[in-house]
């Protein structure tokens, strides 16, 4: 069934963060200010590669209104950061390696003064040769960007002997796939407010996808103990992986500590483009061979990633790309060699899809070419080589059993879009000249293509992947739920609220959802890798029995009633539905207004089983339940509000859980255990006069288990897909000699509402294998992967041209018009 508002029924709900967002009342972290606040700015290198000979900051320091000018000498702790490897200088010492490298930081009374102060800092540079590509970095005699060379990470995987297997192949396809430097383009640029507290602590209001990781990193840099730093990290005006790593936080923190004044930093878009992360450009060479029946005998892959000047998560992205270059297919033999290379280009790092986008673009291109080579339909070719439901993962690792590949394949096969292609194909063999339709301009050619995606979730083997959460009855009677996950816009709060309503029976008004505050929430790991939904679901599954039992036991003791007659519900403890149902009576939950309950609870400040839901007699009080025989009651009613329970319970009622994301018992770093599958079909139109491609229609089947939050699910797949549309058609942060050729959104083109026009159908496949207890899989990334290769397939269907580079170059599709 297609996912939309109608098919979702009552599960389609307004998000808890919605009113604040549509009214503008929600203050983002970059909207916050503080009294006596200073403005922070960072001086960045103008050169992609240079030695620093001297930094003269005296004039800047002497400028009235300037309160601090920091250089590397002012970093009290570790002058380095990076989630995995701390090789990126907070403030450069003797060398800069890209145009975003920070050399000094300034705090001043106003932005204008800070700007002027930056211009007064004199840095003497000696230019060094620019390493502008991985090829240049790997060449003999290349300048070394780091002490141990220009290679951040190498990884490989081998099974069988591809050289032997290629010798027996009937067809071999060799191609090199080139993918662009894509920018996250979150609408809120990096920034935050940094506040030194009276007690010497530091409060950081700045978006990140893992508050505790920022706390750890800032602790290293400032030399302060972690518990002296508080990170407030949600809400976030978009991240997509781009704000997981530190950005402005080191400068804000150091400036605030140095001046003992609140400091605000909010990057301009230009600075965001220059300093921020991008998706790794990768060159992926593939050589794949099949036998006469279309079975893949050998698959050889060489991946070269441009990771830019510093590590961040470049190694992990490469591991992910290596795994995902294999996909949901069976191979006789496999060989993957991957390398991630330092250059003087912009920083590459974590980005939604995490290396899978590049790998699957290449892999799906191979599948289409192989199908061509053996004369098979491309979708049938994929079925011919598809993994079995009990097959191990790409690295041969044990994974959770899944039939997702077949489910997604079947769904796409049955889709009207793919059926249309099949009809076109059979029509084309008979009447090729008439199949394109009568009235259309002859230079507009349409085609339909598809792609198949297998995407791992969680961080993988060998990387700490904690999960967990806390739920408690707060003193004010709210059910307070605490998670260390972040609201990036994906709808995390809405998903959490809906799970609490559906699993526990709470009403939204009963709840207080607490996230994004390291002083309060448990460390439940990062909000990355499509893991947060799964982890929250699992946490609630683990928390529910104990928490429910404690609440009911406390209520039973206060009411003098047996626990088994009680249940959790809107506003408080109710007599069990079972009684009402057994007697065939209608529950009265719907009649209860929460406001009445709260008012009643407030008035009585105690236990109330007076039948608030009753006929209006109001105060027919029967306190402590001694006189009430609930078993004789004919209707469900609220017996005790959460507030009253909180006021009377002798000890706090709280439940906490912590565990790890499921990982494969396999000794290979990064190998995944849970996989999600998707199939994407797209109809595209190519204007052969201009070479421009327009997407007309999309179909997405996603096999990720139960839909937790329909609105969020739909939004993630739609939004991810349009991000892939940009990846396929327009987005590339070009670099020339280590300098960005684009600095803002006038030349870096993300899709507009006009580009995104066209129908999009989303079909979730919710069925999991019997006994699967891992719960719903995250879908934050998978929607961003498949559209790009599907568009390339559609372009081929329309024009007969196979392209190997993203974004599509219109010049490759434009044709000289021929008038006959």
């Amino acid at each position: 069934m297609l996912l939309n508002r109608q098919s979702s029924g009552e599960r389609w709900r307004a998000r808890p963060d919605g009113p604040g967002k549509v009214t503008g009342a929600l203050a983002y972290l970059t909207d916050r200010t503080a009294p006596d606040m200073l403005i922070g700015r960072v001086l960045r290198s103008p050169h992609p590669h240079a030695a620093i000979l001297a930094i003269h900051a005296e004039k800047a320091r002497a400028l009235p209104g300037v309160h601090a000018v920091l250089t590397y000498r002012d970093v009290p702790g570790l002058n380095g950061y990076g989630i995995a490897v701390q090789d990126q200088p907070v403030l450069c010492v003797d060398r800069v390696r890209y145009v975003g490298d920070a050399v000094a930081a300034v705090a001043a009374d106003t932005d204008a003064i800070a700007d002027q102060a930056l211009s007064l800092i004199e840095v003497e540079y000696r230019l060094l040769p620019i390493v502008e590509s991985p090829a240049a970095a790997l060449a003999d005699g290349a300048p070394l960007l780091h002490g141990d060379g220009n290679i951040l990470h190498r990884t490989d995987y081998k099974r069988g002997d591809v050289d032997v297997a290629f010798a027996s192949c009937t067809h071999i396809v060799e191609e090199v796939y080139d993918s662009p430097r894509q920018m996250h383009t979150y609408m809120e640029t990096e920034g935050g407010l940094f506040v030194p507290e009276k007690d010497g602590r530091l409060t950081v209001h700045s978006p990140t996808q893992h508050g505790f990781m920022d706390r750890l990193q800032l602790s290293r840099i400032t030399g302060m103990p972690e518990e002296r730093i508080r990170i407030l990290s949600s809400p976030i005006g978009g991240s997509f992986g781009g704000k997981d790593e530190l950005n402005v936080q080191p400068y804000g923190a150091l400036l605030a500590l140095k001046t003992n004044r609140p400091v605000k930093i909010h990057n301009s878009r230009k600075e965001s483009v220059r300093a921020g992360l991008k998706r790794h450009p990768m060159v992926i060479a593939m050589k794949t061979g099949i036998d006469a029946n279309g079975a893949i005998l050998a698959h050889q892959v060489k991946i070269t990633a441009d990771t830019g000047p510093y590590a961040t998560l470049g190694a992990e992205v490469l591991n992910f790309a290596t795994e995902h270059a294999l996909g949901p297919y069976r191979y006789g033999s496999v060989e993957v060699d991957s390398v991630s290379v330092y250059t003087n280009n912009g920083m590459s790092g974590e980005f939604r899809g995490f290396g899978g986008n590049q790998a699957i673009f290449a892999l799906e291109g191979q599948m289409d070419r192989l199908a061509d080579a053996c004369g098979m339909d491309p979708w049938d070719f994929r079925l011919r080589n598809m993994r079995e439901s009990d097959a191990p993962g790409p690295f041969g690792q044990p994974i959770a059993p899944t039939n997702g590949a077949k489910q997604a394949w079947d769904a796409l096969e049955a889709s009207s879009l793919w059926q249309e292609r099949r009809q076109n194909e059979s029509a084309a063999t008979v009447l090729r000249s008439e199949s394109s339709g009568g009235m259309k301009a002859p230079w507009l050619k349409t085609g339909i293509g598809a792609a198949f995606i297998m995407h791992g979730s969680g961080l993988g083997v060998g990387i700490p992947d904690p999960g967990g959460g806390r739920i408690k009855l707060a003193p004010d009677g709210k059910i307070e739920v605490q998670f260390g996950y972040e609201e990036c816009g994906q709808g995390l709060l809405a998903s959490l609220e809906l799970m609490l309503i559906e699993q526990f029976g709470f009403a939204p008004e009963d709840l207080r959802l607490v996230i994004g505050d390291t002083d309060v929430v448990p460390n439940s790991g990062s909000t990355t890798a499509s893991r947060a939904t799964t982890m929250m679901w699992k946490s609630l599954q683990r928390l529910r029995p104990g928490f429910q039992k404690e609440l009911l036991a406390a209520a039973a003791a206060l009411l003098g009633l047996p626990e088994e007659l009680l249940r959790l519900g809107r506003g408080g403890i109710w007599n069990s539905r079972a009684i009402g149902e057994n007697r065939g009576n209608r529950g009265r939950e719907a009649d209860v207004e929460y406001a009445d309950l709260a008012a009643a609870a407030g008035d009585m400040a105690g236990i109330d089983i007076s039948g608030i839901a009753d006929t209006g007699s109001g105060n027919a009080a029967c306190k402590h339940g001694a006189d009430v025989d609930v078993t004789e009651d004919t209707e469900e009613r609220l017996l005790l509000t959460y507030r009253a329970l909180a006021g009377k319970t002798p000890r706090p009622i709280v439940a906490e859980t912590s565990f790890a994301f499921p990982a494969s018992p396999f000794p290979r770093t990064g190998a995944h255990y849970l996989y999600t599958f998707a199939a994407v079909a797209v109809k595209a139109e190519v204007n052969t006069l201009t070479g421009r491609v327009r997407v007309l229609e999309q179909y997405h089947a996603v096999a990720a288990g139960p839909v937790v939050n329909p609105q969020g699910y739909l939004g993630q797949i739609e939004g991810g897909s349009i991000m892939a549309l940009g990846y396929a058609l327009t987005e590339e942060a070009l670099m020339q000699q280590g300098q960005y050729a684009t600095s803002n959104l006038d030349t870096y083109l993300i899709p507009t509402i006009a580009d995104a026009a066209g129908e999009m159908a989303i079909e979730p496949i919710e069925e999991l294998p019997e006994g699967d207890n891992y719960g719903p899989r995250g879908i934050g990334e998978i929607g961003s992967v498949g559209l790009a290769p599907a568009i390339l397939a559609a372009v081929h269907d329309a024009t007969g041209k196979r392209l190997n580079r993203l974004p599509i170059d219109p010049l490759q599709l434009a044709e000289r018009p021929a008038f006959t």
Binding site: L120, L714, G715, M723, D746, A756
Partner: protein
């Protein structure tokens, strides 16, 4: 030529306008950007800062009912004008119908583009109560959204149109 350090800020002038229906007197340099005036001087942070070159629409406000990028508008251009920001749309007791439609349809995710988007939709529907798809695309092409893929936004616009038709 003067040294940069000798440059003084432009002298302030006085401008009168209304912001969300209230009379406002601005004593500011004539070239101060409306975006900074709204966010910093008036502390109305619903209007967002993003590209600052008039491309993304996150700072869209209404000036005499027309959608304008506040990042490209200077103080002197506001003189005598009626300015409406996202904070000026809702009534105390209810959301503006366009806001309600965005809430109902989930026409937002991170929410950072949402105020500007809602301002543009409001202006569109005042101008053309029953726009075609092409007119919707044209009116909103100056508002970038990176999260939604515009699906929820288009549904919200259509809902707002339908509701407007039902109770004009």
């Amino acid at each position: 030529m003067k040294k940069q350090s000798d440059l003084q800020p432009a002298p302030s002038s006085v401008f009168h306008c209304t912001v969300n229906g209230e009379d406002v007197q601005l004593r500011l340099p004539a070239d101060k950007r409306l975006l900074a005036i709204i966010r910093e001087d008036m502390e109305l942070t619903g209007t967002k800062r993003s590209c600052e070159i008039g491309r993304c629409g996150a700072c869209m406000v209404l000036i005499d009912g027309k959608p304008v990028n506040a990042c490209l508008t200077m103080a002197y251009q506001c003189s005598g004008k009626a300015i409406t920001t996202i904070e000026g749309l809702a009534r105390p007791e209810s959301l503006h119908p366009v806001q309600q439609a965005f809430l109902d349809e989930g026409g937002y995710q991170c929410g950072y583009c949402t105020p500007g988007m809602i301002i543009s939709v409001t202006a569109l529907l005042e101008d053309i109560p029953n726009p075609s798809e092409g007119e919707i695309e044209e009116a909103l092409s100056g508002n970038l959204c990176r999260c939604t893929g515009y699906g929820g936004i288009v549904r919200a616009v259509k809902r707002a149109i339908d509701q407007r038709r039902e109770r004009p």
